[in-house]
Symmetry: C2
Subunit: 242 residues, 2 copies
């Protein structure tokens, strides 16, 4: 039986916003980097899967943070895989401050795809690489919600540029979060209140795509939808402040 594994970080100056607290994008990046490092150290990372034409794709994610940590503060991230069904692998995170208190929790759902055919493959393939990847610890917060389309109040256009894209020529996962949070009033960021973010990744966006980013605010709930130039929904997200 696998156990939670801990990775340690420091909040660097390029990861903070105008309040000197870590941005939502950078918090998400710490979690995704942890996932990458943990998968690699346990034998099912991109180094082993890439040459087999296999690629991990993030489908949905939920993150709950009681606060966003300050510049130069140090924190740990525990991670563990709690479940693999036929095509969805659930990876969890808890984020721990210097006093040992958990101030962040996250559940992420991934599928493994054939990087040539772009279709999901069975997670049974992983058991040849690691027969002991699951940990019985429960998910630390409610699973990511499945988000539906809704009406929005405003929108903006963003053309996908060099700094947005990854090795596959797709927009970086967490860059979508930045596109969305850039639409919020500065006062919302300045409050640094506890929040929950749910995000669904539905379609990839490419270099040069003209994205439409729409959003609406209803009390303490912001909802977002990003569509590509053909009008196909690529990402949906909600942020709820508590």
């Amino acid at each position: 039986m696998a156990e939670k594994t801990r990775y340690d970080y420091r909040v660097e100056p390029q990861n903070v916003d105008c309040t000197l607290h870590s941005t939502m994008e950078s918090l998400g990046n710490y979690l995704l980097n942890t996932a990458g490092d943990d998968a690699q150290s346990k034998g099912f990372g991109v180094d082993v899967l890439g040459p087999k034409n296999r690629l991990w794709v993030l489908m949905r994610m939920a993150m709950e943070f009681d606060n966003r940590p300050e510049q130069y503060s140090r924190f740990g991230v525990n991670t563990w895989v709690s479940e693999n069904n036929r095509i969805v692998s659930t990876r969890n995170f808890e984020v721990i401050d210097g006093c040992g208190n958990v101030f962040g929790r996250s559940v992420s759902q991934w599928c493994l795809i054939d990087s040539v055919r772009r279709t999901p493959v069975s997670l049974e393939e992983l058991y040849d690489l690691n027969r002991d990847m699951l940990c019985t610890e429960p998910e630390p917060c409610p699973s990511p919600r499945k988000l539906l389309s809704c009406d929005h109040d405003g929108s903006s256009i963003h053309k996908v540029v060099y700094s947005d894209i990854d090795f596959n020529g797709h927009v970086n996962t967490m860059r979508y979060i930045t596109m969305m949070t850039d639409l919020l009033p500065l006062e919302v960021h300045r409050q640094n209140r506890p929040f929950r973010l749910d995000v669904n990744f539905l379609h990839e966006c490419l270099y040069g795509d003209e994205l439409s980013i729409s959003y609406s605010m209803d009390c303490d709930l912001a909802s977002f939808e990003i569509r590509n130039g053909s009008g196909v929904t690529a990402v949906r997200a909600t942020i709820e402040w508590k």
Copy 2:
């Protein structure tokens, strides 16, 4: 007499581009973080100067890199202050790969300002904090050039958003580099050739400003100019590939 001091880093996934090599923005951020950490550890950092209403401001910078390092590679940065004249402090960097070879060199020029009056102050103030901050090692590459205005072929508009700004509400130093490199054709980034970047910071840009980013390419030299909404030049830069 002070000596060179070394800081170590790893290229994280959020710091690479579509070629899996560190972006120019992230290379610059590693150097600026090194400057911040080194100044702090030697008694003249933001922790000591901030409460005295003193702020380091980057005026000009030159960076020369033989290559941009790959994702997950580790490297070291040596830094030292070689000269303080009345108002300009010169801080140098050399970047060293895992085999001990120097593959990056940088010279940066800073002034110290009164953060309330926004005017430069004499660097003599620093000698109360550290009488032994200078190192006799020479600058590792030619000093940053003073760049003049020039005609440009094309331009784009960028409205300053939340993710662009720092604690002072000004655009982050290295974000200007991203705005500029986003205008270059992808092929230029894919070549990963040795380059030299010169940048002059002339005026601060604020949240909500509509920036005009103009550029031109002439063989292996790209030149850039960023103006704020009032037409005032904020940043000039050149990138030369070798």
